[in-house]
Symmetry: C2
Subunit: 147 residues, 2 copies
DNA sequence: TTGTATGCAAACATTTTGCAAAGAG
DNA sequence: CTCTTTGCAAAATGTTTGCATACAA
């Protein structure tokens, strides 16, 4: 993995740095982490890394195909390593739980869109919102006492 | 539609105001608009409406089910009226074009997720990224000259 | 050496909040 | 009248940028 990073970086004219190694490792260890969480994790291990470096590095790592991001909330994006199996995400609107699902589950949609619409899905970026089994979708989400 | 708004607002203890009417109309007319675009549109018609009012109103309108939002870019969310036919979105990573697709196209995915995972999709919020027919997905997206 | 990468601080874009005044019911 | 809604300004959140210095190759 470390060599992989070095090779890929150099292959694209980038340089291998301690920060880039740390940030990639953080993404791998955290599973689904926002830039902020990555920063915090990196700082646990090595003292001073800057937020802008995290943003810049995540961009590079994504360009190299080593990480990907998806939008699991209306807030910050979350990054995950591409070293694990490919997947897309299910997010429950009620309990906020995130579930990774195998690409095959969306095969029919992928095929339909390609055949009927000429559209090729970027499945790794796909996030599907809804309600999980435990959180019945017909239940009122919560009480609204506006006033 | 105007009565619909009034009724729905009052039915939930909210009040009918000029701003709320204007903002709902803006969303209907603009099709897929960010809060900023809604603000600009509203200001074209009535002079002074505040950005915070737009945010607060969109939240209310969404709670009432009169509008919905989806994330069509990594930036601001876009709002659309629910008075038109239900749909979800296809966004091309290359030309950025947005296409609205009938729910039926995702029927297989909806059904699979419900049957096999107990997950009920919120299809109205779904945005699928990828490449449209005109923008071949295997083409290099662009030149990277980092340096 | 040469040019890329980082840290830092400031700028940016977007959204949220507190509070007094305006307005709906 | 009462309570909601608005405008305003300031704060919070998340991200990007310019520039001098540090460092990989």
């Amino acid at each position: 993995m470390a060599e992989d990073l070095a090779d890929r970086l150099r292959g694209s004219g980038y340089r291998l740095t301690a920060q880039r190694q740390l940030i990639l490792r953080a993404v791998e260890e955290l599973a689904h982490a926002t830039p902020d969480e990555v920063l915090a994790h990196v700082r646990d291990q090595a003292s001073a890394v800057n937020a802008s470096t995290v943003y810049r590095t995540l961009e590079v790592l994504e360009e190299l195909g080593l990480v990907r991001h998806a939008h699991l909330s209306d807030r910050a994006p979350t990054y995950h390593s591409t070293s694990g199996p490919a997947h897309f995400h299910l997010v429950c609107r009620n309990c906020q739980r995130v579930r990774s699902v195998a690409p095959g589950v969306a095969a029919a949609l992928v095929e339909t869109l390609r055949a009927d619409h000429g559209f090729v899905i970027d499945l790794g970026h796909l996030t599907v919102f809804g309600h999980c089994e435990a959180c019945a979708p017909t239940d009122p989400p919560e009480e609204h006492s506006h006033g």
